[in-house]
């Protein structure tokens, strides 16, 4: 069936089978940052942003995205690099396979939560599994990133 959607603000009109997953559709359009780590919506690696909310593209039919805007990491290169630098400074990207899904959720968290506590950060990112790092380095990166963001906002307010 025919669907129309926007991937990173670019319009796509395409015929898809009713059972095509958004994950596979996105990868077929060259959005290769989107990774599959499981098939059971458990690992968070396939996280993309639909309209303004993070979703798991492995458990979302492409047809459901009809008429909607999808954002992948290909469309958020600057923001990804900005936070990614913090991750890299900790060495906490390790194999990197979970990084895109994790970072997409971190970027969403920054928009959704104001000054989150450590527990709130962990809770928000709970669905993103990582088998390499043991999570501590990711948490250090998130905290340093939030500190920078907060400082920036504070200095804006002063101006």
């Amino acid at each position: 069936m025919q669907i129309k959607l926007w991937i990173n603000d670019k319009e796509y009109i395409d015929d898809v089978l009713p059972d095509t997953l958004l994950l596979d559709f996105l990868r077929s359009k060259g959005q290769l940052s989107v990774k599959r780590g499981c098939e059971t919506s458990n690992c968070g690696l396939c996280t993309v942003i639909l309209e303004s909310k993070p979703i798991l593209s492995c458990s979302f039919l492409a047809v459901r995205a009809n008429g909607l805007h999808v954002t992948t990491m290909e469309g958020l290169q600057e923001e990804a690099a900005e936070f990614g630098n913090f991750l890299a400074d900790e060495g906490a990207e390790q194999c990197g396979f979970c990084s895109p899904g994790f970072i997409m959720n971190v970027l969403s968290m920054v928009k959704e939560l104001n000054n989150p506590t450590e527990d709130e950060i962990k809770k928000y990112l709970e669905g993103n599994l990582c088998r390499c790092t043991g999570y501590m380095g990711q948490l250090r990166a998130v905290r340093k990133f939030l500190l920078l963001k907060n400082n920036r906002e504070v200095s804006h307010e002063v101006c």
Binding site: L32, A80, G91, F97
Partner: protein
């Protein structure tokens, strides 16, 4: 040292954090045949009849292969140096099926839908056989997993396939029976650990094609590209010269990718059809037919005098190889040789048997058998401390290898000499960090909750002594930058980066002046691969040696261009200076000159192997909170202090340690490959097989107590595997300190703790 011991960013970090297409499935987009397997529904069966006629007629199907279409010579899929100690017990497709999920047929087609349809149309008549599912009953069982006559081993590992024995071995140092007679205290217990899945985020995947020269090109997510080349040559019976293996970025390995899993099937499809093919394992397939850790039962006898000085250790390890013997004979050795070595005793005895059964074949997993061994022995040591009413950290300080033992010959460790060790400093620092003396053994904090602490120590090796090799080549390019060609496999751990750090310091150049190239077996120098915690230690030393040779060449060439003798010239990394005349020539000019006319470009290559495998050490202390009403354990704090010699990159080492500790926590608390009564894996997804999430791991703190290993690059030893070894015994010890209950089988679930507490009348 400008770059060694600095937490520089990984060379590939920006690509990884911005989601660039760098992994196998990303770099092989395009037209590939989709390859899938028809898998056995039975844990033990013979294929009496297989009919693929209907399936072949499905539009889009290009190739269906059964046992009749594949070579008849047996091989192993274990990625080890030739001659592999693992038995040659596999065929690509066999008439006999030995576990649920064993391949029955290979199907390749233009798209997934046609392949799925064809898989459903293959008609198979199975003769279902009784399965051997309890490995404890394997030896001399009437069910034989490998009755075939062409079963063979290249090394004498004590195999006897007609008795279901994959390997067996025994050793004794001193006279344990005599020493046990003089022991005031003896602990004699049995400990069990379960099969665990590595659960790397990127499942197994491989793409294959035929290149311009008619050769098979294999792009695959592997830790062992050179071994993949040999194993494919063995399995497909094609010359090695016809195979090229390329390793892109890998989404985690942890030993799973030291076995070749997804490579053979697309390879044979491409070899038969001439067409590009790709196989991507689903998560379920990775669970049901990957290469999990060996399930094990370990019997320990531990004897000490009245003061708690350990006199004798006797260990017997029984290992479940499952259907195939990959890594069986070798992993089991570490359970004893690594675990027992950490304690000074008068006598040691170690016996082991690895047996076949009809569960899935096991393989390598970080820690490689040492992990199971340390759970058992460390638990026994903790039980000894409890029996003596001693603080287990103090008991360890009195018995374990410390700085005082440097220079000691370790009889259970192949008589290698201990050249570096700060385990005592690690223990003292860890105790201080977690405030052990105040918290040991436990504190009831009310609300039916108790806080307690537990401890363990561990060691590992650095590479396989006198066996595996690493080689590098470094080239000086025009403009004076270097290319570092390595055969070691960066699987996210950062070896591309670490080796470049070492090279930068050896060549007195900037880290960014070194370009690293990952593995392509056509181009890279030979390296046995990234396993056995070998890369920093073995390949790192190859870098040091290669740089020495290249520096000499640069010096000679610079001197020649300046018209002076090499002995009168000096190279400082940027230029060659002639002492007599004061004339200089820059590295860039030497580089340019070497690319012009009759001059040969400057390159050097050296390989390195080590007659020793120096152990890194670690003390792991944990604080838990245990709910007495439910048995539930919460990890509050985990402190790991590591002696990995010189830390080449503190950031990457810290992440390795934190990650290893969390994997160990998963193994301890819930990870458990479970089968139903027919041998089918029950928990074959992340829904049921739970690995730790960020909510489960509490606080983890890592620190280092560096030693200097004289045989390692800049004094370095390894870190990769060591760090998974302490959580299981430390947490078990904390559970004891909270409840007085010894948990001797993994995983340690709340249900098990509560049941024991109820049985003890404690609840």
């Amino acid at each position: 040292m400008k770059f060694v011991n600095k937490g520089v960013r990984k060379k590939d970090s920006i690509a990884l954090v911005t989601g660039k297409p760098v992994y196998t499935d990303d770099v092989t987009q395009g037209c590939n045949l989709v390859v899938k397997l028809l898998r056995s529904p039975h844990s033990h069966a013979i294929i009496n009849e297989i009919n693929t006629e209907k399936a072949k007629k499905v539009p889009g199907i290009e190739c269906i292969l059964t046992y009749e279409d594949v070579p008849k010579s047996r091989f192993t899929t274990a990625g080890q140096t030739y001659p592999e100690p693992s038995p040659y017990d596999r065929l690509i497709l066999d008439k006999r099926l030995r576990c649920v999920g064993d391949p029955v047929a290979i199907v390749a087609g233009l798209d997934e839908k046609s392949v799925d349809k064809a898989l459903g149309l293959i008609k198979v008549k199975y003769e279902v056989l009784e399965a051997l599912l309890d490995y404890r009953t394997a030896i001399d069982n009437k069910i034989i997993v490998h009755p075939e006559d062409d079963f063979k081993t290249l090394c004498d590992v004590g195999a006897d396939n007609k008795r279901n024995i994959c390997s067996s071995d025994a050793m004794e140092v001193g006279d344990v029976e005599k020493d046990f007679k003089n022991c005031a205290h003896i602990i004699e217990e049995t400990y069990t650990t379960k099969a665990n899945n590595q659960s790397m985020m990127e499942t197994f995947r491989t793409q294959t094609s035929i290149d311009t020269y008619g050769r098979l090109t294999v792009i695959t997510s592997t830790q062992v590209p050179f071994h993949v080349r040999r194993i494919l040559s063995n399995a497909l019976q094609i010359p090695k010269s016809k195979i090229r293996v390329i390793k892109p970025r890998i989404g985690g390995g942890f030993g799973a990718k030291q076995t070749i899993v997804s490579e053979i099937f697309p390879a044979i499809v491409t070899w038969k059809t001439g067409k590009p093919a790709k196989m991507v394992y689903s998560r379920k397939e990775s669970f049901t037919n990957g290469s999990p850790r060996h399930e094990a039962e370990m019997k320990i006898r531990l004897g000490a005098d009245e003061n708690g000085i350990i006199k004798a250790i006797h260990m017997f390890s029984l290992w479940n190889a499952g259907a195939y013997g990959d890594h069986g004979p070798t992993t089991v050795g570490l359970s004893g040789h690594k675990a027992m070595t950490i304690y000074n005793a008068a006598s040691y005895k170690f016996e082991n048997e690895v047996v076949y059964s009809n569960t899935m074949g096991a393989g390598a997993f970080r820690g490689y058998g040492a992990t199971q061994g340390f759970f058992a022995l460390e638990s026994a040591v903790n039980e000894l401390a409890a029996k003596l009413n001693m603080d287990p950290t103090v008991l360890r300080m009195n018995n374990m290898l410390t700085q005082k033992n440097v220079g000691k010959i370790m009889p259970t460790y192949y008589n290698e000499e201990l050249k570096s060790c700060t385990l005592d400093k690690c223990m003292l620092k860890a105790k201080e960090m977690i405030n052990w003396d105040e918290k040991f053994p436990s504190k009831d904090i009310g609300n039916d909750k108790v806080r307690s602490v537990g401890c363990a120590v561990a060691m590992q090796g650095s590479g396989i002594s006198s066996c595996d090799v690493g080689a590098v080549e470094i080239r000086l390019n025009d403009e004076g930058f270097y290319t570092l060609l390595i055969g070691a496999t960066d699987m996210g751990t950062g070896c591309d980066t670490i080796l470049a750090q070492i090279a930068a310091d050896c060549l007195d150049t900037d880290y960014d002046n070194i370009v690293v190239h990952g593995v392509d077996t056509d181009l890279s120098p030979y390296d046995t691969g990234s396993y056995a915690s070998s890369t920093t230690y073995i390949t790192g030393m190859a870098v040091v040696k290669t740089c020495e040779v290249l520096r000499d060449k640069i010096l000679s060439e610079g001197a020649r261009l300046l018209g002076c003798k090499p002995e009168d010239a000096e190279f400082d990394g940027k230029q060659v200076v002639c002492a007599g005349t004061g004339k200089t020539i820059s590295l860039a000019e030497i580089g340019y000159a070497s690319y012009v006319g009759t001059n040969a470009y400057l390159t050097a290559t050296r390989s390195h192997f080590s007659p020793t495998s120096p152990p890194p050490f670690m003390a792991g202390l944990v604080e838990i909170e245990l709910d007495k009403l439910t048995g539930k354990i919460d990890i509050i704090d985990y402190v790991g202090v590591v002696d990995c010699g010189t830390v080449i990159n503190p950031n990457l080492a810290r992440i390795q340690a934190e990650g290893g500790i969390v994997q160990g926590m998963g193994m301890t608390l819930y990870e458990d490959v479970k089968y139903d009564e027919n041998g089918r894996m029950l928990n074959d997804s992340f829904m049921q097989y739970k690995i730790p999430s960020r909510m489960d791991v509490g606080k983890i703190r890592v620190d280092f107590e560096s030693s200097y290993e004289p045989t390692g690059p800049f004094g370095a030893k390894s870190i990769g595997e060591l760090v998974i070894n302490t959580p299981a015994p430390a947490i078990a010890n904390a559970v004891y300190n909270a409840t007085n209950i010894n948990m001797r089988s993994l995983p340690i679930t709340g249900e098990k703790i509560l049941t024991k507490m109820i049985n003890n009348g404690q609840n």
